[in-house]
């Protein structure tokens, strides 16, 4: 096949090897494949190996560590944004970290998966590791990571605990909205835009209604609407990943 007796120079310009020496019963193709397998192989990092064991699926672990919003650059950017928010909060009394966290999470979730961000998504739908499973795991991990970062930033900026944790529910609502829009519109950017816009409107209208800027995060009247939005958007995301439109 490649290096054996039938080989001619191929299109990459390699010269044909001298065939006269080669013993008939030695399969050089097999030898090369063995060499190539070791030279080309990728050795997974620690995070991926641990994830593989925890999820009991090396494929799912690999899909997780290749999530765009879980790449190191993204995580660092998120941390920086939240840290900046915490820093500003220390100077003023506005808990920016708590207000920023949902927005940051929404962006992360929109970029977790889906037709919006996965160019090979049609192929992904034919995989034994189901694309919904990948989506679920990615979204959960992104969410958890952002929650941890957000709590850390909030706590570091010394805001009241009601605010520190109060944004977790709005964050869920905004994130699921971003995810649903990203999937339906098949565009991660659309999801981010929807999430950020919705959150900005919520914060501003809550402020004008209640008078202080943290109302969006602390007002108990908003609790139910947030949960309803989160549930509805999660359902939309669920169904949108199930129905497939085709062309001919």
């Amino acid at each position: 096949m490649i290096f054996g007796h039938d080989m001619t120079g191929d299109r990459t310009g390699r010269p044909a090897p001298v065939r006269a020496d080669l013993p008939r019963d030695v399969d050089l193709d097999r030898v090369w494949l063995g060499v190539a397998a070791q030279v080309w192989r990728r050795r997974p990092g620690l995070a991926e190996r641990l994830a593989g064991r925890a999820l009991r699926s090396p494929g799912l672990a690999r899909a997780l560590v290749t999530t765009p919003s879980l790449l190191l650059g993204w995580i660092i950017a998120s941390a920086v944004v939240l840290a900046a928010g915490a820093f500003v909060t220390l100077g003023t009394s506005v808990p920016f970290a708590a207000l920023l966290a949902p927005a940051v999470a929404a962006a992360g979730i929109a970029y977790a998966y889906g037709p919006g961000v996965d160019p090979a998504w049609e192929l992904s739908q034919s995989m034994a590791v189901s694309d919904r499973m990948v989506l679920l795991v990615r979204v959960l991990v992104v969410f958890a990571l952002n929650a941890v970062l957000g709590v850390a930033a909030s706590a570091a900026s010394g805001t009241a605990s009601a605010v520190t944790f109060g944004w977790l529910i709005p964050m869920t609502a905004v994130s699921t909205l971003a995810l649903a829009v990203a999937i339906v519109a098949r565009s991660a950017n659309a999801g981010v835009a929807a999430g950020l816009t919705a959150w900005a409107i919520t914060v501003l209208s809550a402020r004008s209604a209640a008078g202080h800027v943290t109302a969006a995060v602390t007002s108990s009247a908003l609790l139910l609407p947030y949960l309803l939005v989160a549930t509805a958007c999660a359902a939309v995301a669920w169904f949108a990943t199930r129905l497939q439109k085709g062309t001919s």
Partner: protein
Amino acid sequence: MNVEIGEVTKRFGRTFAVAGVSLETGPGVLGLLGPNGAGKTTLLRMMATLIPPSSGSVRLLGRDPAGYGPRREIRRRLGYLPQNLGYYPGFTVAEFVEYFALLKEMPPGRVPQAVATAIERVELGGRARAKLRTLSGGMLRRAGIAQAIVNEPELLLLDEPTAGLDPEQRVAFRALLRDLGQRATVIVSTHLVEDVGAACSQVALMDAGQIVFHGTPDELAAGGEGSGAAGDAPLERGYSAVLAAHRSAGAAA
């Protein structure tokens, strides 16, 4: 029989992309021909377990893909190359093929050897560690073929696999198809009639959501003899003749 499809339809809104297709096939290479809009891609997507049929029965590799467990088993033994395959620009060819090998739940110990084999089979051995963004269209297509065959699938579905390949590469690809067809069921959807003639033992011709011909390439070519149909080669003439006959029969009915 690896594929058993009975009276399958697929409806999107009011249109039937697939309007009553029955197909049974086993190992070998089946060419799926037809004009654009005939329903080839939809049929292929159903066989790739992407979409369920609106009605009718589908059995793949002896299993019903409606259930989650059997569907997963089918997918482990499936290879699929969509018509439009996106790629991850930052991945290398080896990483790309390996990614899908893992998603097909291949045992991790077997993956490196399988990846190397697949890459060499599509003659991308000199580009294994090149980033996908540096590859030409034809090479990307071959990388797509490599991920489809990495798990040595029993059912291989290729949608327009030769798009972007130059004639020399198409010849090499046909040889690969014949080799794969020895053990697996290979279904190739294409609008290039000559690809079919060279590599396929069976041909199915689709038009307007139905299969209007199913037989050998020689039988299709024979259908064009003396009919005065358009085409430079016997197979093309057979294609045109059968298509025209079906359409006029449909108009008359």
